[in-house]
Structures are given as C-alpha cells and as structure tokens.
C-alpha cells in the first residue's frame, strides 16, 4: 500500500513557483504561533527569503471559539527578495469558524482555503456569528475549499499515544503543519528535530505530535487531493551563514554584543510589558556574558536601576513599551540632567493608555523626542527591520557611552515579534565601542567636558580622588556644583542641546535605499515601515514611475544631509503608523512640505496601500 501511494504521489510533480503567502489562523489555544514559526524555520533553512507577521490577541486564553480569541500567523516566503509578510495570503488555514470569519476577507480570490470542518460545530458557528455552516453550500465558491475534519484525523493519528482526548486534540496544529509541508514539498525533519528537543521530557507528547505531523503529510500524499503541490526554490542570498531572527531577539543579542565590544558589563532593569518582555527573557538567558537582568517592581524602578548601574560604570539598559515609557520619563530626565549613559528601548504598541497591547504602532515618536519636563534633549534612533535591531542596539550603546546621554531606541510590536532571515555577521566586523572611565584627578570636576563631543567625564564610584556629587538640580558649567545662576542655566541648556546635535557628525548620512538620487517622489519612512515602503517603491519603479526611498534610522539628531536629500525631490511622502508625527517635524522644523500618509489601525501598511498612494502622487 505504501509503495502504491508513493508511486501515485510522485506522479504529481510539484510545480515551481516564485513564492507564496500563507496564513495560519485558529483559536488562541490552537498553537498557530508554533505552527507558523515552525513553517518559518523550515522555509528559512531551505533558503527562502521570508518575512512573518504574528498577530495574536492580548488575552492569554480567550474563550474558545470567539472572534476575539483568534490568533494568526502569516508568512511570505519566496525565491525573490522579501520585504514584508505580504498583503493577502494565497493560502488560508482556518482551524475554526471564528478564524474563517476574521480572516477570509484577506484571502486572495481563487486562493486555497484549508478549513478544519471538525471545528465547525453548531456552537462554534454560533460564536462566530454564522447562521449556517459556510463550508456547506457554495458560499466559498470564490476560493478553492479544502474542507477536512482535521480534529478527527488527528485523534486517529495519535490514538496509540495514550494521550487523553483533550491532549490528543492539541496535536492538530502539527497535523495541519504536516499537510502544509506536503503542499509546499518541504521536509519534516527540521520540525521533527525541534519536537525532539522541545518534548524531551514528555515522550508521549513528543510521539503524538510527531505522529500528527507525519499523518498530515501522509494525508496529502494519499488522499484524493486534487490540489497541486508547489516548490519554492531558494532565494539568491549573498554568501554567508544565515539564521532566522526576530526583532526582540536581535535587540537582546545586539545588547550582548555591545557589552562584549565595549568590554563593559551590562545591567538591564525591566518590568514585564507586551510586546517588550521577550528582550528581558532573552537577555536573562545570557548571564554568562556578564549580563545582569533585574525584573524590578515597576517601570520607574526599572529605569532607575539602569541609571544606578550606569552611574556605577556599567551599561544601564531599560526595555519597555509605550505606557512604561511614559512612567520612565522623569528618570530619563534625571539621566539627561546628570549626563549619564542610558539605553531605553521602546517596543511601541497601539495607544493611548493600554490601547491594543499586541498590535503595532509608531505613535511614540513625539513621546521619545519631547516627553519630558524642561528642555531635555536625548538621542533617538529607530530600527528598520528585525535584523536591523541587532545593529541599532549596538549603536544605542555606542552613542550613549560616548556622549554620556540617554539614547532611546524605537522598535515596535511588528519588528519585535516579526522574523526574517539574517546574515550572521562576522564578530570582528562589528564596531568597537571605546568606554572611558576617568581616573585622572588633575583638573577634574564632574562636568568637565570632552571639547569635541561635549560629553562629561564618566567618573565611577570607587575611583580615588574623584569623589563628587551629582543630581537633578542644575549644575555649574565650571564646577559641577549646584547653580541657580540665570546665565549658567542658559549655558547648560545650550550645551546639552549642542551635545546631542553634535552626534550628527558621528552618524552616517541619509542614503537612498531604492531608486535614483533625485526625482519626482521620495518616500521617506522610519522604523518598521521599511519593508512595505521598499516593496511598494520597487513595484512602482517596475511600472516606470519616478520614485525613490530613503529611510531614517536617526531621528534625533537627523543626518546632516537630511534637508539637502529631501529637497532633490519634487514631492516627499511619509507613511507612518500614527497620525503623522515625523511629517510634522519635517514640515515644522525643516520647512519641507511633505505629504503625510498616516494609518493607525494597529496593523502594518500593506504594500498595496503604499503603492496606490505613490501612484496618486506621481501620476497626479
């Protein structure tokens, strides 16, 4: 029988395609995030370029079957360059009616819909608001419907495992993954290896999940599935060793790297908050790098422990998201006033207030730039892609320690949780970070400055002869003692501003990512919009439009050539996931009449949206 099956399936040779977009959607207890990340790992190992978008509810276990309990994971994998998780999926896997209801509109017309008919019970249909079962009749005729009772097939596949029905039912995500591996002609081994590791201690669960994975794959082989199979060949990557990396993992590793590159210990003060907690988790695993992680009582204490560590000569870091950022602001102001290095990482999420914790947004730019009392300039930088988080974390440490200043690194939920293939850098190619702790007593006072960088001396407790007092009260420029002198306050305010402005001499100029150095339209972005803009500009250029892309990684100070570069274009378009923040700075401070494309839906821009806006502006 097995041989016969083999013969039949091999007669169906997979057809080669450039790429595909697959979305897994199910109940938050259905394991869709694991399914998606396993599919991703395998695609990465096969050499596809890819981008992912995990989209999950804030509730840990929302009531089963509800619309708000749906968890999704979209992956775009391809033989070509991939910059985004893709707009509309080619394949939608819907594990229950609620997943179908909330995701069907995204599926491409004619796309493949894999539905777990076993979960389309009267109760689940009602919870999803379906009067009738949409899998019956012809309401899905716009798609290729593959209706399979995955629940039942899984129970059959794992019958021998000895698991309870409830536990056995949990294996259905691996059955589904097996089927998708069949569809895209992917090997099972990487996931089998992962299962071996993950369930080492529970052999029955391991065996059941492996059986389910194989059964899903076998179903594709044996069943009368008329659907064709696909092969997505590897992408052409630059030579090197690659891995898959998420933004939060890259951020954590960048911090570890910066600590190593500077030969200075790192202390993270943090308080758990979505979607930033994974950086705390990841850093906590790497204490053998001399990394200390403190989960403290609140966001304020998190910032303060980091400041205390910086004062004592370590690299003080605090990680958070928007609401936590608001709480830290007074402490950041203290680091501005005492001119201590401090790295603050904000994984932005939808606000205001609690907002939508698991949804992405870029609306904390103003908070980062202006969110403190008094004239309180800090350096603000932003990562563009998950892999870029690694380099920007290193850059944040470099600038904070060199200029004795807080540096705010902006990432967001989309970058933090999203993943991409990442070329592993050669450690020797990473920038050295020179940390100087002053020991020279002659001529010392705590605010004696480096004439070039204007950074004050970093004099660390324990150093003989440099005993001094600092605080949040204004200091005399000449002695560091408390000063209420009017002229001195003016001078110190100007000095603090000049120090931050001077960083512009120490950062790369703004470059063109895509397109010509001048033309009709420049699409300018910052942060996680990079991928959508890049792909939209590419497609528009392929249609012959005069459009280029530039992307800001340094928001304060901005690169020196910023105004000059923008002025080479007739128009500038700024897409942002907020109500238009960068655009206000460009218009208000730099007097460039840029157009805003502001979207605030808790979701990244689709390529299509930006492409349409480009067309409107260029063809107008």
């Amino acid at each position: 029988m097995a041989e016969a099956v083999q013969a039949r399936s091999s007669s169906k040779a997979p057809s080669k395609i450039r790429g595909a977009i697959v979305r897994f959607a199910g109940d938050s207890g259905d394991g869709m995030q694991i399914t998606g990340s396993q599919f991703t790992s395998t695609a990465a190992m096969l050499g596809n370029d890819l981008a992912t978008f995990p989209d999950f509810p804030a509730e840990i276990r929302a009531p089963a079957g509800t619309l708000y309990g749906v968890s999704g994971f979209q992956i775009n994998f391809s033989s070509d360059d991939v910059f985004t998780p893709g707009d509309r999926p080619d394949v939608l896997v819907a594990m229950n009616p609620a997943a179908l209801k909330t995701n069907l509109a995204a599926l491409k017309p004619g796309g493949l819909l894999v539905a777990n008919s076993g979960a389309f019970s009267a109760g689940n249909l009602k919870k999803a608001g379906y009067a009738e079962n949409p899998l019956d009749g012809d309401s899905m005729s716009a798609y290729q419907l593959l209706s399979i009772d995955i629940s039942k097939a899984t129970l059959l596949a794992v019958a021998e495992s000895g698991l309870s029905t409830k536990e056995a039912n949990r294996c259905k995500n691996f059955w589904t993954l097996g089927l998708m591996y069949w569809l895209y002609n992917r090997p099972l081994e990487p996931t089998l290896r992962w299962l071996d590791q993950k369930f080492k201690k529970t052999p029955d669960v391991l065996a059941a999940n492996a059986a389910a994975l194989k059964a899903g794959h076998a179903y594709g082989e044996t069943a009368e599935i008329s659907h064709e199979r696909y092969d997505v060949p590897p992408a052409v990557h630059e030579k090197g060793t690659y891995r898959n990396i998420s933004g939060n993992q890259a951020t954590a590793w960048g911090l570890v790297a910066a600590s190593q590159l500077s030969g200075t210990g790192l202390v993270l003060g943090s308080y758990p908050i979505t979607p930033a907690s994974d950086i705390l988790h990841e850093l906590s695993r790497h204490k053998n790098f001399g990394v200390t992680t403190l989960q403290v009582e609140d966001e304020i204490a998190a910032a303060c422990t980091a400041i205390g560590a910086s004062y004592a000569g370590k690299i003080g870091v605090t990680t958070t998201s928007g609401p936590g950022m608001a709480l830290k602001m007074e402490a950041i102001g203290l680091a501005v006033s005492t001119e201590l290095p401090l790295v603050v990482i904000n994984i932005q999420r939808a606000g205001p207030s609690t907002g939508m914790p698991t949804k992405t947004e870029q609306a904390d730019l103003f908070q980062a730039l202006y969110g403190r009392n008094g004239e309180s300039p800090v350096c603000v930088i932003a990562a563009a892609t998950p892999g870029d988080c690694f380099y920007m974390a290193i850059e944040a440490v470099r600038l904070a320690t060199k200029y004795m200043t807080p540096v705010i690194l902006l990432s967001d939920g989309y970058l933090g949780n999203g993943a991409e293939p990442w070329k592993i850098p050669d450690v020797s190619s990473l920038p050295k970070i020179e940390v100087k702790h002053r020991t020279e007593v002659e001529g010392f006072h705590p605010f004696v400055r480096d004439p070039e960088t204007l950074a004050r001396a970093w004099a660390v407790p324990g150093t003989p002869g440099l005993e001094h007092r600092i605080g949040g009260i204004e200091k005399s420029f000449d002695s560091g003692h408390i000063s209420y002198s009017p002229e001195n306050h003016q001078k110190m305010s100007e000095t603090r501003a000049a120090k931050i402005a001077g960083i512009a001499n120490d950062i790369p100029e703004l470059g063109i990512e895509e397109g010509e150095a001048s033309g009709k339209l420049l699409v300018l972005g910052w942060g996680s919009t990079y991928g959508s803009i890049r792909e939209a500009v590419r497609r528009s250029r392929a249609r012959g439009l005069s459009v280029s892309q530039a992307h800001l990684r340094y928001l304060n100070p901005m690169p020196k050539n910023f105004v000059e570069l923008l002025s080479r274009f007739d128009k500038v378009l700024i897409p942002e996931m907020n109500m238009g923040q960068l655009v206000k700075i460009v218009r208000g401070e730099h007097l460039i009449p840029a157009e805003s494309y502001a979207k605030i839906e808790g979701m990244p821009f689709t390529v299509d949206e930006i492409e349409q806006r480009i067309s409107q502006l260029v063809e107008a």
Partner: protein
C-alpha cells in the same frame, strides 16, 4: 559592606565636603550629619568606596555634604538607583537617605521592594512627620487631624509607622533613633554599617520650622527617661530613671503591659528580655501606643540573610561556570543556521 581595609587614617574631615549647608538653622538634619560624619571614619571604608544616594526633600540634600560619591536623584526613587549601583558594583558601600514623604509616600513602593529583597544598602529615614521642602503639608507619618496649609480642617489620613512598615517588608535590620541623641544614633549607624544585608534606621528628626517639637513629648530631657525605652539584645526591657519600670507580656491576652518592679509582686523575672531575632516581639514593641507606653529606640530586629546583590552576582558567576564565558560568535550561530 566593603571589606577594603583603609590604607590611611580617616577623620571626620575626610567625609565632609566643601559645600555650604543649606538646611534651616536649628534643623535636626545638622545633628544627624555631624553624627554621620563623626561615625564614618570608624567604619573602615574609604570615602571613594562609599556612595550616598538620596531622593528629594530636605533630608535628600544630605549627599552634597558628604565628601564621598553622592547621587541626589528624583522623588521617591532612590531605592531603585541605589539598587542599580550596588548590583553593578557590590564592592561599594551604599548609604541611602530618605524622608517620611520621599520614602513612605511617593517612594513607598520602591522602599518596600528594596527592603524585602534585602539589597545590601543602609537606609536612613529622617522622619519629621511633615513636608518641609514644599513648606509644610502633612506627611504619611503626621498624626490624624494634623492642621497644615493643605489640611486647614485637619488631615483625614491615618498615619504609618516606619518601623512597623519596615518589619512588614521583612527588612533584615530595623532600628530607630533620635537626631539629637548623638551617642545612640552613632551606635545605630555603626550597627547598621556592620550588618551584612539591607538595613533600615528611622531617625526622629525635628523640623523646627514646620513641625517644631513633634517629638518633645518623649525627647525632652526632663521626660525622656520615663518615656523612652532602649532596646538591647539579651537585656530585660526596663526603663525609667531608676530602671524600675518594665514591659511584661500577659500570656493570656498576648498583650504588653507596663509594670513596676516591687509592685503587685513584680520582679525582674516577670520582665520581657529583648531578642533582636524575634520578629513578633519587634512588631509588638513598634506598635506600643504612646503615651500609655514608652517609645522604643534601638535595634528592633536584626537577622542576617543572603542579599539580593549577592544572589544576583552568584547567578552571573554560576552561568559562567556552567556555560563557559560568553562567546559572541557561538551565540550568533546557535540554533538552526544555513550557509549560502
């Protein structure tokens, strides 16, 4: 505290900065500063290895007057900063100065967690039962009904007792003293300095501008013997000019009472003996209502335990031992990779 042995003879001058002191004339803070500066040379810690951290308020100006490292931070947050300093460099001796507003109102949360974690820092809380720097509003330790600018009809809050608070937080060392009792205060500071682990010392401090004579009822020379009881480990809890009054525990009601030796057949064997390791006794002594009972001064509780900073450091060392010193190339190449 640091084990570094001083290589030079230290005097009070080594710990006194050149800054003009800006407290009001007559403020109790002067007396505390003088006692601290006199006591520091005896502790065996060089000024460069000492950091004084404070929050905001009158008492928090303290670090400016110490010729050590000093950090005047933000309101209520000194425990966080002090914790970061101690964890980053456990060799430093860290002292923290706070007040009843800074430590128990805006910073109550941080103080609580700092104490229960047993961070190896010495905390001095100057309690004047008033907000001084903001010019005279009531504080979390002001008595109910306190009439101030913000409470012209009297405050409606119940006050908090700092020693009870610290005991409730499981602080490993809890003591109380008075600003002008230089000898006693010096002893408490020395005890705190020598205690391995976090310490909390409440110091009754007179604000002669906004809450003058707040502690006179038991601080004044003519009444102090009768109205103070000094706690000494292993010694009977006696007080009064001739030490004829004492504290007795009624075994039936489990309440303390004041008894007089020689009256109603009371002898010294009826008197409780102070035990610094008994948290329940510490709590009872801290909760004694005044003036029915005397005010307890001294070390209420002291039990050394493992510190937060030591445990944190051990984890780093343990990880290095177990996983080897971190190798960045190995980290970046860990897990699934592929080569093009």
């Amino acid at each position: 505290m640091s084990n570094v042995v001083p290589t030079r003879n230290l005097t009070r001058a080594d710990f006194s900065s050149d800054q003009d002191i800006r407290w009001c004339p007559g403020c109790g803070d002067y007396a505390i500063l003088a006692t601290v500066q006199r006591t520091m040379p005896e502790l065996g810690v060089l000024p460069e290895n000492m950091v004084w951290v404070s929050g905001i308020g009158c008492s928090s100006r303290f670090p400016y007057y110490m010729n050590t490292y000093g950090f005047h931070t933000i309101h209520g947050r000194a425990p966080g900063i002090a914790t970061g300093i101690k964890v980053a460099n456990p060799d430093l001796t860290v002292w923290m100065v706070t007040g009843d507003g800074d430590g128990l109102s805006i910073g109550g949360n941080h103080l609580m967690h700092c104490l229960r974690r047993n961070v190896d820092i010495n905390i001095l809380l100057f309690n004047n039962r008033i907000y001084g720097l903001t010019k005279g509003q009531y504080s979390p330790t002001s008595e109910t009904g306190k009439i101030t600018k913000s409470t012209p009809m009297g405050s409606t809050d119940n006050p908090l007792d700092p020693v009870v608070f610290a005991l409730g937080c499981n602080a490993s060392f809890v003591a109380r003293s008075i600003d002008v009792e230089a000898k006693h205060l010096g002893q408490m500071i020395t005890r705190a300095a020598n205690h391995r682990g976090g310490t909390f010392t409440e110091i009754y401090q007179n604000c002669n501008v906004f809450n003058d004579e707040a502690f006179e009822a038991f601080r004044a020379k003519d009444v102090k013997d009768e109205r103070q009881i000094h706690l000494e480990h292993g010694k009977p809890l006696l007080f009064g000019a001739d030490k004829r009054k004492g504290l007795r525990l009624d075994p039936k009601t489990f309440k303390l009472s004041v008894v007089t030796l020689g009256e109603n057949g009371m002898t010294e064997s009826d008197i409780l003996v102070h035990d610094e390791t008994n948290q329940t006794l510490a709590y009872m002594l801290a909760r004694m209502p005044f003036p029915q009972f005397p005010v307890a001064l001294g070390v209420f509780y002291a039990v050394e335990g493992e510190t937060y900073n030591a445990r944190t450091e051990q984890q780093v060392n343990f990880s290095v031992d177990k996983q080897g010193k971190g190798d960045l190339t190995k980290l970046l190449n860990s897990g699934e990779t592929w080569t093009v």
